[in-house]
Amino acid sequence: MGIDILMPALSPTMEEGTLAKWLVKEGDPVSSGDIIAEIETDKATMEVEAVDEGVVAKLMVAEGTEGVAVNAVIAVLAEEGEDASAAAAKVSSGAAPEPVSEETPQAPPEAPAEPTPAPAAAKAVIEVAQPEPEWDGAMVETTVREALRDAMAEEMRNDDRVFLMGEEVAEYQGAYKVSQGLLDEFGARRVIDTPITEYGFAGIGTGAAMAGLRPIVEFMTFNFAMQAIDHIINSAAKTLYMSGGAIKSPIVFRGPNGAAARVAAQHSQCYAAWYSHVPGLKVVSPYSAADAKGLLKSAIRDPNPVVFLENELIYGQKFDVPDSDDWTVPIGKAKVVRQGTDVTITAFSIMVGKALEAAKMLEAQGISAEVIDLRTIRPLDTETILQSVRKTNRLVTAEEGWGQSGVGAEIAMRVMEQAFDYLDAPVARVAAEDVPLPYAANLEQLALPGADEIVSAARAVTYTEA
């Protein structure tokens, strides 16, 4: 029984080609790897190698034949010890380059007759987050900066696999003093100063996570993580999926995000929308010190890669934080930080403060605003937003980043999809002006959204514009 040699495809899109030249003739012995023919497409000329060994029993397609279909039999090999003429005789005489005869041992892959609808029920991938446990114990007034440090220290005490790496995190005690004291307590093995080489250390951190450690990678600011975004997305976020679940990347990428003060466009960008675009990542951006601590502890314990977006301008703000080293806040759960009835305002990170300020101003104007601190951007807690919108029938989204393809755009879409009938006004977005952030104090102030803009938006959606 002869071995059929089929017309190969040179690319996923090739359907036919020209058999340009035979480099063997009938009766020639061939072995694996021998070049037996050249074929051409409109794009390329390629050599065909023999995979099996034997004697060329019959060439089925003449040199120069055009339009030879992929998988058509182009030659027959007689196997070792087989009579070449017998093998050739098995081939029906005068066979044209018909595709795939009955004797062809391997049929081309079957295309499904029609696309099978994907099972809808299987879509829920992320577990539903439970609200954080009620805390009725003692509270300690803590800055966001200290809360972040405490979260890291507690988790490092609990788990030797947890370590911190980044620029100036050790001996300098943190560029923004977030890691103050950690080197003293945990030593240079676990608190590691890196050179200024974000792509490299993000890759080293991710590799260490794949090997079973629990790295916390600090970026001096997230602006510099653009140098490392390939590892955050292609290596950390996608490898679990690409490995069919075999390789885990339990890593936290953290650091200040968004505008600071008077540092101009390259140092003043919000990346929440960027990272929230990517399945496989979780994206967290807290406001209060309690949430910063509780969420960072959850992020360190999470088996998935987490992008943890902080804000330099609120590092020094003080909040009450539960006095416990095991109290955590679940990722994926928003929090209603102010109850209201007339309009819902969503915000995260520094914008929560501005939203609360706006709510006070609105109250003085007779408008009751409900403020939701999103806390997690991915997975987004749509349910908490919907519940509020069903009550207030109006929504303003606030974020410090640009509006286009922003977090507010996503929220507005979800509310339109899932609560359209509850809306009494179009959703309003408050975001940065659509320009790179300027340096000049007056222009910077003009570009960034504040409480006034939120108030205006709230009055617009409540049809109470002055």
């Binding site: 089929l6 017309m7 190969p8 495809a9 040179l10 690319s11 996923p12 694996s32 790897g33 794009k43 390329a44 000329t45 390629m46 190698e49 995979v51 992929v70 391997q106 081309p108 892959p109 994907a118 099972p119 299987a122 879509k123 991938v125 577990e127 370590f163 890196t194 050179p195 080489t197 792509y199 490299g200 250390f201 890759g203 080293i204 991710t206 590799g207 260490a208 996570a209 794949m210 090997a211 079973g212 450690l213 390939d230 590892h231 292609n234 290596s235 490898t239 679990l240 999926y241 690409m242 490995s243 069919g244 679940g245 075999a246 390789i247 885990k248 496989g280 979780k282 088996p303 998935n304």
Partner: protein, 337 residues
């Protein structure tokens, strides 16, 4: 360049390998060769899609290095031309071939494809599609070995093209600074896709790329498995003993195009033919085995037959294994805590 590069490769006397080791080299290289030929054939039949980068010609590199590693203790990571590395670390050919055909029985359940397979058991960490990403990730594997003080080392394989990426330099710097146990293996097959070394690098001495960071390096004839294993043994010893990283540049050659759809117009047929006939690592070892009387034609034939059977079985498995269930679309995106 072909001959000058080869001449400058180390010509030190080889380590002595016993009969069984030499025969094993032959078997391992032949398995990769035949496996890749079969993959090429299945690609031609439309059973493998997308990108498919074959390792034919470079077999001696990975076989020589892997021989000096402790599988399951040491970590291995590579780029997208990775089928040979998987086979050399002892991964199951059935699972590798089934991943190529995108089937449920593949190492990544059909969700990764040619460039993305992993084995925690063998400590094989992929299979990465972004050129040079595996070098920084490999630095992380080495970091973990040092952090855990477990005696293992990491080997990061990359090509001459990847050598020019900034993150390779970044990783070398940190690996040396922190004395990480990592062996950098630059597989110099002379072309980064269609761009030759000379057209891509101001200085093509990739073994010396560690020098600015205090990392020693050596060049070795990557078409000679005994030379490969000899130099690998020295390099691995250096790294394992805590002396920090080492760069090994293997001078090799790929016979096929960069990927299946590459007509390889950037080099002459004569050049390819010269390597095939004069340098082929499998043929060279075969001749040595016969010369030294370690095996006869019948013995070689028996090996050939066994290897073919393994490859044929993998091809059958890769076609018989079903496509992944539709529910698999949504799995492995997140782990639950």
């Amino acid at each position: 360049m072909s001959t000058t590069a080869r001449k400058s490769a180390k010509r030190a006397s080889n380590k002595q390998f016993d009969d069984a080791q030499l025969t094993k080299f032959y078997e391992d290289m032949l398995l990769i060769r035949r496996f890749e030929e079969k993959a090429g054939q299945l690609y031609g039949m439309g059973l493998i899609g997308g990108f498919c980068h074959l390792y034919i010609g470079q077999e001696a590199v990975v076989v020589g290095i892997q021989h000096e590693l402790e599988t399951g203790k040491d970590s291995v990571i590579t780029g997208y031309r990775d089928h040979g590395h998987m086979l050399a670390t002892g991964m199951d050919p059935d699972g590798v071939m089934a991943e190529l055909t995108g089937r449920e029985g593949g190492y990544s359940k059909g969700k990764g494809g040619s460039m993305h397979m992993f084995s925690t058991e063998k400590r094989f960490f992929g299979g990465h599609g972004i050129v040079a990403a595996q070098v920084a990730l490999g630095g992380g594997l080495a970091f973990a070995h040092k952090y855990n003080d477990d005696g293992g080392i990491a080997v990061a394989y990359y090509g001459d093209g990847a050598a020019n990426q900034g993150q390779v330099a970044e990783t070398m710097n940190m690996a040396s600074l922190w004395q990480l146990p990592i062996l950098f293996v630059c597989e110099n097959n002379r072309y980064a896709m269609g761009t030759s070394n000379e057209r891509a690098a101001a200085v093509t001495d990739y073994a010396a790329r560690g020098k600015p960071y205090g990392i020693p390096g050596a060049r070795v004839d990557g078409m000679d498995v005994e030379a490969m294993a000899t130099e690998a043994a020295k390099a691995v010893k250096h790294v394992r003993s805590g002396k920090g990283p080492f760069v090994l540049e293997a001078m090799t050659y790929r016979y096929r195009g960069h990927s299946m759809s590459d007509p390889a117009k950037y080099r002459t047929k004569e050049e390819v033919q010269k390597y095939r006939t004069e340098q082929d690592p499998i043929e060279r070892l075969r001749e040595k085995l016969l010369e030294r009387g370690l095996i006869d034609e019948a013995g070689l034939k028996a090996i050939d037959k066994d290897v073919k059977a393994i490859v044929a079985k993998s091809a059958d498995f890769a076609q018989a294994s079903p496509e992944p269930a539709l529910e698999e679309l949504y799995t492995d995106v997140y782990l639950t805590a």
